[in-house]
Amino acid sequence: MSEGLLAETVGLSLGGRLVLDRVTTGFRKGELVAIVGPNGAGKSSLLSCLAGLRRPDAGKVFLDGEIVAAIPARSRARAMAFLAQTPEIAWDVDVRTFVGLGRTPHLGAFGPSTEDAAAVDLAIATTGLGDFAARPITRLSGGERARALIARALAGQTDWLLADEPLTGLDPGHALDTVGLFRQLAHDQGKGVIVTLHDLTLAARFADRVLLLDRGCLVADGPPGQALTPQALAMAYGVRTRTHKGAAGPLIEILRRVD
């Protein structure tokens, strides 16, 4: 199986500390995968290795059979969009220009084509930012800015979307919208969507598959019901949990610290 995004015994050390320890897993297009785990478990590191932004010290990451780190940067950027955890926005450009940055790997010698403009329009419409297109990015609220960041990632029209904690700072309504959008991108548009999340309930409810990381090791990998067991969560997070059957899906209640 060479289709898809594969991590093969990926290991990574940062500053002498092992942050990823022989992680092996695979992703296909059309599924939404949530990577969960406590702070410092290696979620962001795994995501940046998958995105080809960090070269693993051990093991390899393959995209459709090719080693990701060896794919030319521009081709890789056309295949995968990456949404950083704390994205930097250096200049106060308007939303349309900002979203247009997502077209960078597609731009021809003479600047944006009509195709580029159409992709930007579509990304703005998908994220409901039509009314804000001409507004400076710093004048957006937190939720609007998060949508602009997602629109930037969508504008590239990549097959893969990798997002590092895209729900940080979003209120419950916007968080729900965003996860819903990710699910729709995976199921309706056939993208491979990989997100790191802290909200276990949202992960359990929306993700097709959940990866649980604990101190650099992949300790669970499967459908939410199988991966997010009370035993696994107790080991990884050090908390007792109980999964309830909620009205809209499973609800993971955090009870107390493990003694």
Partner: protein, 328 residues
């Protein structure tokens, strides 16, 4: 302020450059009206125009353009509106290279040694800057790295002055350091032009990378932008452009800082769209300032570098007040 198309901004700046160009050929100690131009060799004032003012004007355009463009490129790369070749120590490094040449008396032997050493100085300054700031490129590390380079280079220049064997060498170095376009000839244009033009062409290719850097280094890399190449192009472009400018005119500060800052709102803050306007704007500002300096009502004209520094102080004050208002 409404953002406009970069082409519109460039058009306005180019039109004002043409006006300034014509004015620059007329203005000075001797006013040369249009009739003196068309008379050909008959009017002695023709010699002033073509022998003195034309090279001076062209030099102002080259140097101003190089400084404005380098400032815009450095600000874009560092994502810091306070970056410019002067503030980051690149100009000082170029000046140190040139001063050492003047000090050793090697400059008079062949024309190209001075720009070459200035370019090497600027190049070493850029390399040191990028190495000291490291991959983090946070605003603070960049400013600090620039400060270190500037301090070291200024110390080196002072040391050269301190140890200079004769007063003429000191005099030559000091008057050159202040930065001026006065009494420059076709020879200086010939020395500066290749480096400025080549360096500018290199910098102008970096627009897209600078745009992508709006998302930070990781963001730019995720968009497929090779930052090693960007860094290299920036180092080469700024070294060539600033080095050859400093070699013929000495240190002229603030152009690279003021021009991109003033033009930024007009292009909607997009760093890549700021490159051409900053080149034209830098040329216009330098040429305009040089015209004013020429009209100094005193025996000795005010040095352009000094006039720019005098302009820089109030500009910083204005920036500080605007920033405080925004934060209040």
């Amino acid at each position: 302020m409404n953002a406009r198309s970069p082409w519109f901004v460039c058009g306005v700046l180019a039109a004002s450059l043409i006006l300034l160009f014509a004015l620059s050929l007329c203005a000075g100690r001797v006013w040369t009206p249009w009739s003196a131009w068309v008379s050909g060799g008959a009017d002695p004032r023709g010699a002033i125009i073509f022998g003195l003012r034309l090279p001076r004007t062209i030099l102002a355009l080259l140097v101003g353009g190089a400084l404005g463009l380098s400032g815009a490129a450095l600000q874009g790369y560092t994502r810091n509106p306070l970056a410019d070749p002067g503030a980051l120590g690149v100009s000082s490094a170029a000046a140190l290279g040139a001063v050492l040449t003047l000090y050793l008396g090697a400059a008079s032997e062949t024309g190209w040694i001075l720009p070459a050493t200035a370019m090497v100085g600027a190049g070493l300054g850029m390399v040191a800057l990028l190495a000291l700031a490291g991959v983090t490129s946070s605003i603070v590390t960049f400013i600090l790295a620039g400060f270190i380079i500037q301090t070291v280079c200024t110390a080196g220049i002072s040391l050269a002055l301190n140890l200079a064997p004769n007063p003429w060498a000191v005099d030559e170095i000091v008057s050159w350091l202040m930065g001026s376009l006065a009494d420059r000839s076709v020879e200086e244009v010939r020395i500066a032009a290749p480096g400025v033009i080549l360096g500018s062409l290199v910098l102008l290719t970096q627009g897209r990378a600078l745009d992508a850097l709006t998302l930070g280094e990781q963001g730019a890399r995720s968009l497929g932008v090779g930052l090693t190449r960007t860094r290299l192009s920036l180092a080469i472009g700024v070294s060539l452009a600033v080095g050859s400018s400093v070699a013929v005119t000495g240190v002229i500060g603030f152009v690279g800082l003021i021009v991109p800052h003033l033009l930024r709102p007009w292009v909607g803050s997009r760093p890549g769209a700021l490159l051409w306007p900053s080149l034209l704007g830098g040329a216009a500002l330098t040429l305009g300032a040089d015209i004013l300096v020429r009209l100094t009502p005193a025996a000795e004209e005010v040095k352009l570098g000094v006039a720019m520094a005098a302009l820089g102080g109030p500009f910083f004050l204005w920036m500080l007040m605007a920033m405080r208002r925004r934060l209040a």
